[in-house]
Structures are given as C-alpha cells and as structure tokens.
C-alpha cells in the first residue's frame, strides 16, 4: 500500500503495474504471515482472554468446570470500590516516574563520565553492569536486608557519618516504604540506562565537540547544544523501554515489601496478583490488569506524540 502510494509519479505507465504488484503483494503477505500469526497467538489471544475474563465471575471452580458466568462490568465496579485501588494507581505513577527520572539522570551522568577515556574505564563500566545481571529476586532480597531498620547496613552507614540520629524506618513506615522500593528499583535500572546512553554518546562525532570548543562553548553549552540534541533518539528509546519495564515491575516490590506495610507499596501489578492469587477473584485481577494496560497505553501515546512533535521540530 505504502509502496504504491510513494511510487514516484510520472514513471512509465501502467500496464505492467497490476501484474507486477499482485504477486509482490502476495509474497509480502507470505512474509508477514508468520509474524502476524505469532502476534495473534501470543499477544492477541491472551489479551482478549484477559478482557473476557474481566467480565466473568472467574473463580477457582471455573478452572475445573470451564464455566464462569458473565457479570458485565461488575468486576471493574468492585475494583473501583476497593479502597486499595486509589493507592495502587498513585503508587504506580509515583514508582514509574520516580524510577525513570533518577535512573535516567544517574545513567546519563555515569555514561558521560565513562565517555571520557581514562585508565580502567572499561573495567569499571562492566562492573557497573552487575546490578543488571543479578536476578531481581536476589537484588530485592539483598536490598531488603540492607534497608533493615535495626541491622541494615544503610542505617549503620547513615549513623556512621552522623546523617541520621535514629534508625530510619525504611521498610516499616508507610511513608518511607515507597521511596525505599523506588530506591531499589533505581539501583537495578541504572546500568541499562548507562549502557544504552553510553552507546549513544559514542556515536556522536568528536569533531562536533572540537568545533563547539573552537566557538568558545563551555561544558554546559556543549552538552546543551551538541550532546543533548544528538542523543535525543537514544533518549527516546531509553525512556520508552524504561517506561514499559517499570510500569509492570512486580518482583522487586514483592520481594522487598510484599506490597506492605499496610498496602503502602501496592501498585497495580501487586494488587492484580493479590486479587487473583490471594483472594481467588480472577475476574477482578484481570480487570486490574486491563486497567494497567490502558494506563501504559496512555503513557505510551503521550510519549509517542511528544516524540513525533520533537522530531518534526528537529526536522524543520
């Protein structure tokens, strides 16, 4: 379709065109088919069954009998009435935004630092990848120990440098638990940002900086007018992937706080899990899952719009 549309006008005419385009369209379709089938089976089917499940009273019994009565939007109504839901939405947003902002900022800072060539730069950089290589359950468990109020190393360190008088209740107060979980997730996500942004920085030609230096640009101006605009495509990818990863984070929260204390770190993912596998209200669990999908799509569309706008801006 696009091909025919973009074909330059005024080329020698047409009798050959239908004959040539028909087989090529078929071939194109043949190439497309496996991917289409894959998407339908592995993405389309679960998505639709999740939608269907969210309109059913799906219980443990339904797994055996295969019968789940249709209840319309009752599950959604129940979820909206659930007092935890508001907290979960707010926490999901705070967790996602908090994680991404700091992961990106720290990742970019480290990437710029390691972009300068110095002894041991490569070794250090690969060491910094460590958090990314560890299974999330391991990182989560270790952070849970480090954040322990009485015997955790973080409070010990804070006491040692006299930054804190008493032990900070990282995981035991409803106010501190969410920042503590976000902190853990930031630590886990920094290497990913570091690696991709470092790659992006490497792709920026050195002579642009030389030219900027000749023009008398200081470090900030070089960053603002050379690095930042040229890094923009990579930035977009990092933020987009970061968003997709972060909004669905489940293991980290589950291991560090289990959604507690007193629901203070419940997000939509942990709530969905709790409804499905603690309460056995699979329909409501599916409903929360669908709400999460909608939220992610909204975030994604907003991002795509802004990316398109900024792309148009750079092009013009």
């Amino acid at each position: 379709m696009t091909l025919t549309a973009t074909r330059p006008a005024g080329r020698p005419p047409a009798p050959a065109r239908p004959r040539r385009s028909a087989p090529s369209r078929l071939t194109g379709l043949a190439f497309l088919l496996p991917a289409l089938l894959y998407v339908l089976v592995f993405f389309g089917y679960p998505l639709i069954s999740n939608l269907v499940m969210s309109t059913q009273n799906y219980t443990v019994r339904s797994f055996y009998t295969g019968q789940a009565p249709f209840v319309g939007l009752d599950n959604y109504a129940a979820v909206f009435r659930n007092p935890v839901f508001g907290t979960a939405v707010l926490n999901t947003v705070l967790f996602t935004v908090g994680s991404i902002v700091f992961q990106f900022a720290i990742g970019l800072g480290l990437a710029m630092f390691f972009n300068g060539r110095f002894l041991g730069s490569a070794t250090l950089r690969s060491l910094l990848l460590l958090p990314w290589l560890l299974p999330l359950v391991v990182s989560g468990a270790v952070w849970r120990w480090m954040l322990d109020q009485d015997h955790g190393i973080i409070n010990a360190a804070l006491r040692a440098v006299h930054l804190a008088s008493g032990p900070a209740p990282w995981l035991t107060s409803t106010g501190w638990a969410l920042p503590a979980v976000i902190l853990t997730n930031i630590w886990i996500g920094v290497p990913f940002n570091l690696v991709i942004l470092h790659g992006g920085l490497r792709a920026i030609p050195e002579n642009l900086y030389e030219a900027a230096a000749l023009d008398g640009a200081n470090a900030w101006q070089r960053f603002r007018h050379v690095t930042w605009p040229l890094l923009r495509p990579v930035t977009g990818i990092v933020l987009m992937l970061g968003l997709v990863y972060t909004i669905k984070v489940f293991d980290v929260i589950m291991v560090v706080t289990g959604g507690g204390p007193a629901n203070a770190t419940q997000t939509l993912t942990t709530m969905s899990y709790g409804l499905s596998f603690h309460d056995f209200a699979f329909g409501q669990g599916a409903a929360v899952g669908n709400i999460l999908i909608v939220l992610a799509t909204v975030f994604g569309l907003v991002y795509l719009r802004s990316a398109r706008a900024s792309l148009a801006e750079t092009a013009s």
Partner: protein
C-alpha cells in the same frame, strides 16, 4: 478424542501386561495402575530428602512407582489450577491445608472414603481441615503449629522464667530488649504467614474469624501492636518472614521467637545456641492457647479409576502409623493421630509443647471454608495497619471486617 485416547491407553496397557486387564472401559472396577504422579512443595533440602524417603518406602510397600514433582510453595495453587484447567492433575497431591477447600470446591478431588481410608484416631482439627461439605478429601501424615522458642542463656542471665501468660510475655520481652536487641520476634508480613502468626493471639483470646472486629479480637491486636510500639519487638516484624525470624533468633538479636517446629533442626545445628520450647502464652494464667493447624494434606484428584486406586494405596501407606512417625521425626512435624503423637513425644521431649497444642489447635478453614483466604488477607492488612500506627486496632479490624465480608 478423549474416548479414543482412553481406549488406546487401555489397549496398550492390556498388551503390555501379561494378564488381560479386567474391567476396561469403565464398566467394572479397574485394577490399580502401576505408576502414579505426585506433587508436593517440600522444596527445602531437609524436607525434600525426608519426603523422598517416605515416598520410596511406600513405593516399595505398595509396588506402585511414584513419579515425584516438587515445586516452591507459592507455585502450588497456580500449578493445581493449571492442572485442573487442562485436566492434567497429578494423581496424588500434598498441599497446604487451607487451600484444600478451594481445590475441593472445584470438584476435582475424590473423597478419601472411596479408598477405604478411615479417619479413626486423628485429631479432630485435622479431620476438619480436610473436610469439605461433610466429606473428607484430605488427610495429613503430620501437622505443625507455633510455639514460643526461647534462648535459655539470655533468659537465665536476666533471671526470667519462660512466660506462661500475656502479661509474663510482655514483661519478659520488655526486660530483654536493649541495645538494638529485642525480647521477642515474630512475623507480621502482609500475607498468609502474618495472619497465621497472629491467629494464636486472636483465637486464644476468644476471637472469631466470622467477626474479626469483635472486642476480644481488638484486644488481641492491641496486645500485639503494643509489643512493637513498646519496644519489646522490632518494627521490622512487618518485613520478617518466619525464616527471617529464625535468623534473628539464631543471631542472638531476639531472646524469644514465635515459630514452628520445622525450624528446630536448624536451631539444633547451632551448637552454641541453647534453646527451650514452651506453648504460646495464653491471655490468662491457666488458659490454653489455640494455635492454627499448619501442614499439608494429601488428596487424590479424579484422574481415572486405575490411577486413583493406586494413589489411594500410596496415601494409605503414607498415613500408616510407622510412616507417620518416620515423617514426623525427619521433619519435626506432629503426627496427626493422637496415639502416634504421644509415642513421638516420649522420644523427643522438645516436640512436646507442639504436641500439646495440636490437641486444641484449630483449622483455619473450620469456620469460613472457601471464604478464608479473603478474610486472611484482610486480617494481614489490619495487623500491618495497627503496627505501623496507620489505624487503631479497632479501626483496622473494622476495615478488615468490611473487606473480608464483602
């Protein structure tokens, strides 16, 4: 399709066995199969070895081959649900007793009377835990419960006797707390584990799961949250699983802990640690604690006459007195028959407090059946709300009653 599958299997079985298989096609009683599949969650090193030994014994005694599958606890129910959905349930399964109601509710299980397994001699709480709609679907070779485990050295250095009442416990725990160490450790994490640790306080004081906001329940939650706010227990109980609690106890950070018998082997491995076990303190002097029954029940899903029969033979063997005793010794469980438990108590005095408690222990699903998981989750949240000071115990339990009841 299924019909053809079944016929082919039967024909194949007939072709392989020397004598013709009687009762093929489900018209008469099928003979027992020669091999079955089994599913359990004894995934820790000690538990898995002990359980394998039991299965080997019973495979030998019954002549049935057992293909065992062992998975982490958290995956048990999802795995069973998958199996139920795709009709690939194991022939014999051992699951945490509060989930039995859910599984039996699907209609996937068969009553144990079908296999001539009787409930004579079992503690009543255990029979109740395995009963769904007046039929027994699951029985346990052993159960467990919670008790108060104390560090003998720390208590005697402070001149404190092991506590018997709530007041004793509070005073002792307060006296033993100083310099970053606490008198008492327990688990109050936001899951079934947290509820299970609270239930001995809740029930012993006269709480009732169908009215979780009753005055005795509020009093129990007040007592537990006062232990934390008074500094007798760390606020980190909000994050400690029972394994973490045992770690704290072993490290000497807690002088007493509420924990289960399955941890005793681990404590025994610490040569410098001298510990004692007493029942969980009761609200008043002379009172008896009511703990929740823990442990796994064996159940037989409807997988076909032949395999069910074979599974029935294996389960009978597992539930027989000698195997029951062997399993209890190997994994520090309490045998589920009173007579066997009494015998075990004579051999292992440290288990006696646990054995004493099983007599009065209550099954978690006794009052609520399938509704238990929802109430349990609401209760776990209430415990956390009270300990963090988000809500007063009364408010927290009112919220739980609304959430669990709706």
């Amino acid at each position: 399709m299924t019909g053809i599958g079944v016929t082919t299997t039967v024909l194949l079985a007939a072709a392989c066995s020397p004598s013709p298989a009687p009762g093929s096609g489900g018209t008469g009683p099928a003979s027992a199969a020669t091999s079955i599949t089994e599913l359990d969650y004894y995934a820790d090193a000690q538990g898995t070895a002990a359980w394998q030994k039991i299965l080997d014994t019973c495979a030998q005694q019954t002549g049935v081959k057992i293909a065992r599958q062992s998975i982490p606890t958290a995956q048990m129910l999802p795995k069973i649900l998958q199996g139920a959905g795709s009709k690939t349930l194991p022939d014999l399964l051992f699951t945490d007793n509060p989930t039995l109601q859910q599984i039996a509710g699907t209609g996937a299980l068969t009553p144990l009377t079908d296999y001539g397994i009787s409930t004579d001699g079992y503690y009543p709480g255990i029979i109740k835990a395995g009963t769904y709609q007046d039929k027994v679907y699951g029985l346990a070779p052993g159960v467990n419960g919670l008790a108060l485990i104390y560090n003998k050295d720390l208590l005697s250095a402070a001149g404190i006797e092991p506590p018997k009442t709530w007041d004793d416990l509070k005073a002792a725990a307060a006296k033993l707390s100083a310099n970053g160490k606490y008198g008492l450790a327990f688990s109050a994490i936001p899951s079934e584990e947290g509820t299970w640790q609270f239930l001995p306080f809740f029930w012993s004081n006269g709480g009732d799961l169908s009215h979780v906001d009753s005055p005795p329940a509020v009093q129990a939650l007040q007592y537990v949250s006062d232990l934390v706010s008074g500094g007798a227990a760390s606020k980190s109980v909000l994050n400690w699983s029972q394994n973490d609690v045992a770690d704290q106890f072993v490290a000497g950070n807690a002088a007493m802990m509420i924990n289960g018998s399955w941890n005793l082997a681990r404590l025994d491995a610490e040569k410098s640690l001298h510990y004692g076990v007493v029942p969980i303190p009761a609200p008043q002097a002379g009172g008896k604690p009511t703990v929740a029954l823990g442990g796994e029940v064996g159940a037989i899903p409807a997988t076909g006459d032949g395999t069910q029969k074979a599974a029935g033979k294996v389960l009978s063997c597992i539930l027989s007195d000698p195997t029951m005793l062997e399993w209890s010794k190997a994994h520090a469980y309490v045998p589920s028959k009173a007579a066997v438990a009494a015998e075990f108590g004579k051999q292992d005095p440290e288990m006696q407090p646990f054995i004493d408690e099983v007599g009065t222990a209550k099954s978690r699903t006794a009052d609520l059946g399938e509704k238990y998981p929802k109430v349990s989750e609401a209760l776990a949240t209430a415990i956390q709300s009270a300990i963090t000071g988000q809500k007063s115990p009364a408010q927290a339990l009112q919220t739980a009653q609304q959430a669990g009841g709706s």
